[in-house]
Amino acid sequence: MEQVETMQAVAIPVEKHKSKSLWQHAFESLMRDRYAVVSMSVIAIYAFIALLTAFGFIAADWAKEVGPSYAAPSWDYIFGTDIFGRSVLAKTLKGAEVAISVGLVTAIIAVIIGVFLGAIAGYFGGKIDECIVWFYTTFSSIPYIMLLVAISFILGKGLIAVYLALGFTSWENLCRIIRAEVMRHKDREYVQAAKALGGGDMRRLFKHIIPNVLHLVIINFSLTFQTAIKSEVILSYLGLGVQGRPSWGTMIDDAKLELARGVWWQLAAATAAMFVVVLAFNILGDALRDALDPKLKGKS
């Protein structure tokens, strides 16, 4: 019949316009942003370096004395040496390991706690919601540094303590955001539809709603990552940081005694290394927000 013929005639052009999913769209949009691509490359490089040092392929000899104490940067020692004559370049590279792992683990912990509590609060409402809101309100009322210090006190020193302390203090913001978004989605039509089709609460929550709030998690992840890197510095200053291996935080902290003697290179190296990766995260975070949050289109 006429309709079938014309259907065939237009079959091919219609194929061409298969609509892309939101994620594909976002990904493509992200790839088109030069600054986002550069930032992601920078972060990838840092992550790669961290992996290399973790397995000992480079800077494995960071603890070795390579020159005189406090040698200034020169062709022999590119970033100079520290008080023990160790290469600052090696320490800086090794420090990437701590930074990346701290950022990653903290962000993961924060995401797990924040998304879980936020989703449950937003979805089930009622008493559960009130409890969780009360919980993160009380947490937010305590200044960040105090909480960090208190938790660190309890957990002692060391890397695991740093992970936990930073992780437990970074989830509130995400929790609040996820809760609000889940509440907004709860009453949307597609959830009612899923309800009508059967399927329990948890299934609805995880299969339908959470994918729709994932973009907020991604945006928040980059923010948490860089805040964690910066906070590690404060923990090191308070003596609660990483022991036994170099971190940018301890290098900056050591600098407070060195500067008076004119030794600036450890501070410069650590600050510069941190600056580049945190800046990259900031730029990436902005680009992610532009790509993933449809409401913010046109505001970059």
Binding site: T6, M7, V10, P13, V14, K16, S29
Partner: protein, 331 residues
Amino acid sequence: MSEKLLEVKDLVVQFRTDRGKVTAVNGVNFELYKGQTLGIVGESGSGKSVTALSVMRLIPNPPGIIAKGEILFRGQNLLNLPLDEMRKIRGNKIAMIFQEPMTSLNPVFTVGNQIEEVFALHQKEFSKAERRNQGIELLKMVGIPSPERRFLEYPHQMSGGMRQRVMIAMSLACRPDILIADEPSTALDVTIQAQILELMKKLQSELGMAIIMITHDLGVVAETCDNVAVMYCGQMVEKADIKTVFSRPRHPYTKGLLESIPSYDSTKNREKGRLPTIEGMVPSLLELPTGCSFQDRCNFVTEDCRGRKGTPQLESLLQGHEVSCFNPIVV
């Protein structure tokens, strides 16, 4: 023939996107006469809103730019005016109302304050008391009960229909020559839609302004317009008075639109069951086919349409009836 108020010639409007330059309006021409209502009809993305915004020079730049053309208001090219001169015309000689009454008013100022603002801007000789009185009169004119009370209210205290009435009142404050209405009733309930359109017709007969009615709804066009221009992918494909367009459409797209209107009239000669549609989808403006933009969806497509003769242009078939097609429907 009444006075020609507006003449748009060869209007081309482009937008810079991260995927390249998009031509949203590609060579549009039309005229508007005093007291006339011109409807511009099309699907989303056809370029009808962009055309309307161009008349007011409200196209955001970046990313949009009016690349070519002339917009002659009473003979004067609006595109050449310095911005401060253009601002004297906006809200004053040419006014516009928009689709979303819920968000088109500033939530932190009273409705009265926002109406007075128009007077303060364009009719500076009014005193504060006169602005207030005139404002209340305007609210009365658009059919808002208890206007004195409403004048002091905030937008969130009003329903969508009432807010749209306020928008209409604001736009007519200075008795403009032209009112551009971009889908004024689309966001409202069906019963309120009818009321708003009624109101606009009444005000037109009282105040005598010309109206450009942008809509995707042919029903609205039938209700309110004298002439109609049908747009597709940035171009006008058919232009005529409504009687002609509704009874003797010549462009296949117009015909498809008319046929797809659901009807309660069982005497219409159509198959029961499926609602007729225009097959296929509107092509992306970034990937328009060579030749006629409608070729992939057209039931009357020929080889000429695929680029051999270039892109079709608007041609006068009969007095007052223009079609842009290489194979217009024979009537």
